[in-house]
Amino acid sequence: MKKPLTLPRHSRPAKATLILACLAAIPVAGVAQTFVPLNVTDKFYYHAKRTVGPTAILGVAAYAAILQEADAPQEWKQGGAAYGRRVGSMVAWAGIHSALAFGLDSALHQDPRYFRSSDTGFWRRSVHALRGTILTRTDSGGETLSTWRLGSDYGSAVLSNLWYPSRLNTARLGFIQGSVTVGLDLMGNLGAEFWPDIKAKVFRRK
């Protein structure tokens, strides 16, 4: 996700969409625990699901609504056409992001999934989620720097600035947006780590 440059105070619908966007950021596949390496087709489906799956589309629509509410970028103004443009921009960004992620993890033998911690305790599990953001498993079972994540987050942020107004089409903002995306990935991993427990406690089901 990108461009939360200056968010004004949110109205109630905007807060609801923000919560929806955060929920959509939680990768469903993070619940999978046993390590069986994915082949190229599995990786393709994994990224396709994260791009055009129902939760992904919901997340894109919600995030576009937040951008619309925040009037970011201002040059795109308000209205139905402007919302469509923001949704289109987000879809294009998601497409570039997934293409880069798939290309990198299939070429470099990296596993894009998040694996939950077997430890107990809030801090240990939070550190594991942070570790899962920076590092990733390889297809052979080892661990390496998550180049697929860093490359796709920063690469898509820099490339998708292309259709934004010139004042936003800078390397600095691309870097900031890429960092925000990594931060949202961390939030997604934290969600994948703790969401099953929350669900079990709140909804009394496994």
Partner: protein, 179 residues
Amino acid sequence: MYVQNLLFGMHISLRHEAHGGSPATWSNASLLNANGGKRAPAKLSRKVYEAAVSERETMIQMVTRIIKLVSIPVLLIASIFARYAAGYEFLVNLAICLGAVVLVQRAVQLKRYYWAAGFVLVAAVFSPLSLVVKIFLLMGLTCTATFVTLFAAFRTHPSPADQNNWGDSNEETANLTSA
């Protein structure tokens, strides 16, 4: 010539490059001939300098846009065929790392320091080093970047009145020609 400049360095003004890009050194250099003696000064005002800088900025932005436009379809197509590169993991890493090193050099030449920092990070991430070395390298680079940013932010800047004393060398020119 335009295309040549576009491709091989995006240098609007050779004079500007040759004299280090500083307007002060630029106007001073124009007042000296090859033997270091005085000669009739070229009339370089601040407006000319600003126009050249603006043109240079526009050209760099245009080139960046073109590269981004081209790279999106190229990356999309490359991702489809990425599975065929799976057997050459080391070479893929090395190619990306070397490409980033070349781009760091170009970015520094063009004084695009944000781009340069970004490409340094790309080179570090894709370098064929061990995981521990990479992590420490990235931490070191992050600390350095933070220090440089803070240093730039808290550095004292000349007041606008001082900045007006460069570039417009009419008074200096008049003194030299009268001498």
